[in-house]
């Protein structure tokens, strides 16, 4: 084969044209472009927030596409082409240094996000996201609007739930400590309320509980459990002060349930994706021993003692 300039240039350009037609143009014209059942248009504020997301490179750490084998946040919704029809540019991303955000809308209330943007470690102590306080309150507000729209109609349903329970939890908080603690306990199903922590306290379990507390809880509830962690100024109702709970019938089961399931509407997230059973019991017992100063660990009814118990 004689490689003349025209053979080289003609050849490579013809190949490029043919391949672009096959792998770029054809898929673009062939896609049906119809919206999925969760699709809706974004509001002007959500679009403005999306601009901030694009300009500041959020996509380098946060994907927006859930896979069939994912477990983390958003994994109830496997990505579909119809979810993205208005995204220009699309922000699927190529790396997860932080969690996927395609269904982030409504996972947390707005105040959690604002504290998180000001400094991510306020709400998530192990986070390695850089702080965004420099965006200023207005841009943080818009960015929050965008993040709360991720997931579109599904996010809207979650936001309705957040807003409903936000109002309920604020009312309970403003009714005073006694009423608030009673309200919090009443939201836990009866069975859970009556279960003491079934495992005994040990020096080792308290150390493990403390480690979990430092990775997950300290940003809001603070190092001494008084609810004065660094996130506190941004959050309302404010983080719970554990030190006033003594004698108020806080069972191990209540602690377990609230850590597992979170308190939607407040900044208290669910931790059931992050933490397995043992870790939740142990961090609950750590809170009970150190901050409430009253634990029902290993009290009756506790069933047959597990085989590992000393």
């Amino acid at each position: 084969m004689r490689m003349t300039p025209s053979v080289i240039l003609g050849g490579v350009l013809a190949l490029l044209a043919a391949i672009v037609a096959t792998v770029v143009y054809f898929p673009a014209v062939q896609q049906d472009g119809s919206p999925s059942e969760i699709y809706r248009e974004r509001t002007a504020e959500e679009e403005a927030g999306r601009r901030i997301y694009l300009q500041n490179g959020c996509v380098y750490c946060h994907s927006q596409a859930i896979r069939a084998f994912d477990w983390d946040m958003g994994s109830e919704r496997i990505a579909q082409a119809g979810d993205y029809i208005a995204d220009e540019p699309i922000q699927l991303g190529s790396q997860r240094t932080g969690p996927d955000l395609s269904q982030a809308g409504g996972e947390h209330p707005d105040d959690w996000h604002i504290a998180h943007f000001v400094n991510p470690r306020y709400t998530r102590p192990s986070s390695i996201m850089p702080p965004f306080a420099w965006l200023g309150p207005e841009r943080i507000r818009l960015l929050t609007r965008y993040v709360q729209s991720l997931g579109l109609r599904q996010a809207d349903r979650r936001m309705e739930r957040q807003n409903f329970w936000k109002a309920e939890s604020v009312r309970a908080y403003e009714a005073g400590v006694e009423a608030n603690v009673r309200w919090l306990a009443e939201q836990v199903p009866r069975g859970w309320r009556e279960i003491p922590n079934p495992y005994p306290t040990s020096a080792a379990s308290l150390q493990r509980g403390q480690r979990i507390y430092q990775y997950f809880c300290i940003g809001c509830h603070g190092p001494i459990g008084d609810g004065m962690g660094p996130a506190q100024p941004w959050i309302y109702p404010p983080p719970l002060n554990f030190t006033v709970l003594k004698g108020r019938e806080i069972s191990g089961g209540i602690l377990y349930y609230q850590i597992m399931n979170g308190i939607t509407g407040t900044a208290m997230p669910y931790f059931k994706r992050d933490l397995e059973s043992q870790k939740i019991w142990e961090v609950g017992d750590y809170v009970a021993r150190y901050f409430i100063n009253q634990s029902d660990a290993n009290e009756e009814p506790r069933g047959i003692d597990a085989s590992w118990e000393p």
Binding site: P5, V12, Q55, W71, A79, D87, L92, S94, W134
Partner: protein, 459 residues
């Protein structure tokens, strides 16, 4: 060869300008990378400095590496070998120097735009629209110069390096315009899934149709000369060239295997990703047989040493790439640092190291005197080699930790404390690469502009 032809004098001002460009941007780009690596281990580091915040400095790093360091470095060698292989002077050295200046201005404008928050938010296609046009124009200037030199050549036969250089710049001018969607200035993007398909078609071809062919052109030029050996096989050159153009161009969608793109397109990308062994092994067989038994000659020429090392990385990065395109493998490797490691092996280990080899091969031949310091060049070689090899190991390990943990159902948040030590290691290894880049800049500047007094070059 007639007397007139053999008397061609090469001014090489264009090659010098691109060599300096490359050395300068290598130093800047690795500095950007170091800032980004710093954020990953200490996120409150430089916490509220908007213009170099992680999400802005990362694309500055990537674009400066691709279009500041590697491409101009490989072009410097091309502007050296193209006139020599054609036995004709470059069409216009003035145009060449202007194109290098214009190239620098275009890239700097784009990076300043990203730094100020005008990113278009598409990975590998972040630069704002105005900068996109400038970069396409830069490619245009280079194309004009190279093609008109080819037209005025005195050597009828075009050597394989010429094929690669011409194809790389012409194809990339097209894919750059296409991939950056220059006909839509406000967003620079399509809508929805087709945007992702186009983006990764383009993004992968920055490597496939720009860095790889330019680097192969340099290897095909440098290694036969350094070893004084004829090329092993013309037929393999042909097969390697055409299979590279055909196969590489199909595989961008392997970045999207876990997203809702058409299955037939995923299948094409997987099949062609595996088929990448054809162009790669054809090239490697050709070039490794060419230099067979001549490692001493390669070792003696620091430029050839870099280029040969680049071919070894080419082998690794492509074996790894073919494997990573398999869906079962990708369940573990996708979305984590494994891919970051892969990208560094390809862009720095193969293309970047080859570009450095090109620079050190041409510098003494352009200036007519030895490098300012062979010692510093060797030092840079080892700094970069240890740095990139360490990077590959650390990022692969941390990628496996992340991928396995996620696949087993651990949340991403839970893995953050586990991977922190690896980010520290990665930054430490990055320091070696950073040091290598700055040492290289010093060496290139001294070699180009400061002839030794008294005529005794530094060891």
């Amino acid at each position: 060869m007639s007397e007139a032809v053999s008397a061609v004098v090469h001014a090489d001002r264009t090659a010098r300008a691109f060599a300096l460009t490359s050395a300068l941007w290598f130093a800047l780009a690795t500095s950007f990378g170091m800032i980004a690596a710093g954020y990953l281990i200490a996120p409150d580091f430089l916490a509220n400095v908007e213009y170099i915040h992680f999400g802005r400095v990362r694309p500055m790093h990537v674009n400066a590496v691709l279009f500041g360091f590697v491409t101009p470095g490989l072009l410097a060698a091309a502007f050296y070998y193209v006139p020599r292989l054609l036995r004709a002077p470059l069409f216009s050295e003035s145009l060449g120097v202007f194109s290098a200046l214009f190239w620098n201005v275009s890239l700097a404008a784009g990076l300043v735009g990203v730094s100020l928050g005008y990113s278009q938010g598409r990975e590998y296609a972040e630069l704002p629209w105005g900068a996109d046009l400038l970069i396409i124009a830069s490619f245009g200037l280079v194309i004009v110069n190279l093609l008109l030199t080819i037209r005025r050549r005195n050597e009828p036969i075009l050597y394989v390096s010429i094929w690669y250089a011409a194809a790389a710049v012409v194809l990339t001018a097209c894919t750059y315009a296409l991939g950056n969607v220059v006909w839509k200035p406000d967003t620079g993007a399509l809508k929805g899934i087709p945007d992702a398909i186009l983006l990764w078609f383009y993004g992968h071809n920055v490597f496939g149709l720009l860095l790889s062919p330019l680097a192969l052109g340099v290897a095909y030029y440098v290694l036969p000369i350094a070893t004084r050996s004829p090329l092993y096989s013309h037929t393999l050159s042909l097969l390697g060239f055409w299979s590279l153009i055909v196969v590489y161009t199909h595989i961008g969608t392997h970045h999207l295997l876990q997203t809702p793109v058409p299955t037939w397109l995923k299948t094409i990308s997987i099949v062609d990703s595996v088929a990448m062994v054809i162009p790669v092994m054809v090239f490697l067989i050709n070039i490794w047989y060419t230099v067979k038994g001549k490692l001493g000659e390669i070792h003696a020429d620091i430029g050839a040493k870099f280029v040969f090392t680049g071919t070894i990385y080419y082998f690794f990065v492509n074996l790894q790439g073919s494997m990573m395109a398999l869906p079962d493998v990708q369940r573990i490797t996708h979305y984590n640092n494994w891919v970051v490691g892969h990208a560094h092996i390809g862009v720095l280990g193969f293309a970047g190291v080859t570009a450095l080899g090109g620079l050190y091969f041409i510098l003494p031949r352009i200036t007519g005197r030895p490098l300012f310091s062979r010692y510093l060049a060797d030092l840079q070689y080892w700094l970069v080699l240890i740095g990139i090899t360490g990077f590959a190991v650390v990022l692969t390990v941390v990628g496996l930790i992340q991928g396995q943990a996620w696949y087993n159902g651990e949340t991403l948040y839970r893995t953050l404390p586990e991977i922190q030590p690896y980010y520290v290691l990665r930054l430490s290894l990055g320091l070696l690469i950073l040091a290598g880049a700055w040492v290289g800049l010093y060496n290139v500047v001294r070699s180009l502009y400061f002839p030794p007094r008294g005529g005794v070059p530094c060891a």
